[in-house]
Amino acid sequence: MVQLNTKIGSLELKNPVMTASGTFGYGTEYADFMDINRLGAIIVKGTTLNPRQGNPYPRMAETPSGMLNAVGLQNKGVDYFVDHIYPEVRKFQTNVIVNVSGSCIEDYVQCASIINTLDDIPAIELNISCPNVKQGGMAFGVKPESAAQVVSAVRKAYDKTLIVKLSPNVTDITEIARAVEGAGADSVSLINTMLGMAIDAEKRKPILSTITGGMSGPAVKPVALRMVWQTAKAVKIPVIGLGGICSATDAIEFLLAGAAAIQIGTANFIDPSISEKVVDGIQEYLERHGFNSVQEIIGALETD
């Protein structure tokens, strides 16, 4: 029997497949389509200290092999999560990770410390890379100093596994990754969406209400793969890879590039049972190549 289990800091995953924040709701939306409990983890949508209405419609534009979104962290706030969502998601027999965002350091810290008290949430993913909010979000994640600042503040308030989600909208992502590693992150996940834009030529207007938005989907995969490969060599903490993964083969490419786990995002919109299929596909690949464990392929890219 092939071993699929992997570790992110002290967090044990039954397999390396997670679902990306903002693409999987609270998991419950997908329960009709697949067995959520077969996943290594689910990362629920971006949660902030206070409720957020998000950006006005339209928030989405389809692009060649991808899409732009400008949701803007719509959520009902951490208190609502604790009272109404947590009692439901804690029933899942998989790791439920909360993506935490904020517009200032104090918001991140308060939100993280509230989630720290929830027994069945073993980790948070700190979102310092959302391109769709005016304040905070990506602003923290594009400079090593501010990234380290928010991570060390949250580190003091949060004692479980701390994953930091990085923005690709930087010159050198390894610099940011090293900064957050130094500030106490247990893991980095990358990439969040790439800043993009879509125009309606007939109307001579932007398609998104916010003009720019975050691009995801298969079109960003080569960039994500490159950044995961660079980052995995630059830091000692585990790297979680995401960006355009649509199949087990895509997932395996990220593992070979050095990711200890992967997340599936936009592909959930096209096939709501894709993440379960990716688990099966990774297992099939390992068996076909005679590996005993998924650990044998993590970072196993042969470059000479």
């Binding site: 999987f24 939306e29 419609y57 339209p58 989405m60 389809e62 899409m67 979104n69 949701v71 919109f269």
Partner: protein, 252 residues
């Protein structure tokens, strides 16, 4: 699902008939499906409302306006092809839970699509609806011969080629506001807003089906939101696509 037939039924519209493998799930008029587009150029599914169903043969019909690469690919499907479909999605019109005796079904363009299924359903409940459809020209008012099986059909066209000249809200049918106890409408947003305004002014209950750009179709991505008086931004795919106009912030 298996493609049983696919044929053009208007200048830019195709009627796609699919067979469900097994018994059709229960569906409410106004609900929709997400169809996987058979083209490598198109990533996201296309949300298409359920146009009609045949419970005996487990068939579902979709009336699809060809507006871009996605719908063009769906129009090119051939008999015997397979299509991956998620259905039924969203919430439909309230006819199963709300009493209605004299419904007016207002449609514009391809927005007539869900109203045939609604007409079928109302007819099964012994209610004969009135249809009021608008289009730029007569040939853009689709499937007239099907609708008249279930109720009376009135039309407006912008060029006067069929029915009365003008927009649906100018039709003489609306001179007597007591004629109808509920309006169900689907079509372009300006038409829906005009219908909703008429309904408010005449204190007639009104439900509209919205056509927002969607990605997931199941309430996960939060792309297709509409602002509501009671809950702020909600997903049209999950909370809608049919809304009672009282929930919408259109007029306040």
């Amino acid at each position: 699902m298996l493609v049983v037939s696919n044929r053009m039924v208007g200048p830019c519209a195709t009627l796609l008939t699919l067979q469900y493998p097994g018994d059709l799930p229960d569906m409410i008029a106004g609900q929709f499906a997400e169809l996987l587009v058979p083209s490598a150029k198109v990533l996201l599914r296309r949300p298409i409302s359920i146009h009609a169903i045949d419970r005996v043969n487990n068939l579902v019909e979709f009336l699809i306006q060809i507006v871009g690469e996605g719908t063009q690919s769906l129009a090119e499907l051939k008999q015997g092809d397979k299509v991956n479909v998620l259905l039924p999605l969203g919430n439909g019109f309230s006819y199963r839970t709300t009493h209605v005796a004299r419904p007016l079904l207002v449609g514009g363009g391809v927005g007539v699509a869900p109203l045939l299924f609604l007409g079928q359903e109302l007819a099964e409940h012994g209610i004969r609806p009135t249809f009021l459809f608008g289009g730029r020209t007569e040939d853009l008012i689709l499937r007239k011969e099907e609708f008249i099986k279930y109720g009376d059909l009135f039309m407006t066209t912008e060029d006067g080629s069929a029915g009365e000249k003008g927009f649906v809200t100018n039709h003489s049918l609306l001179m007597d506001s007591e004629s109808f106890d509920r309006i169900y409408a689907c079509g372009p947003t300006p038409m829906l807003k005009a219908v909703a305004r008429w309904a408010k002014e005449h204190e007639t209950a009104c439900e509209v089906s919205l056509e927002h750009r969607m990605a997931c179709g199941i309430g996960a991505c939060l792309c297709c939101v509409e602002d509501t008086a009671d809950s702020g931004n909600v997903c049209v795919c999950k909370e809608g696509p049919v809304f009672n106009i009282d929930r919408l912030k259109w007029f306040n």
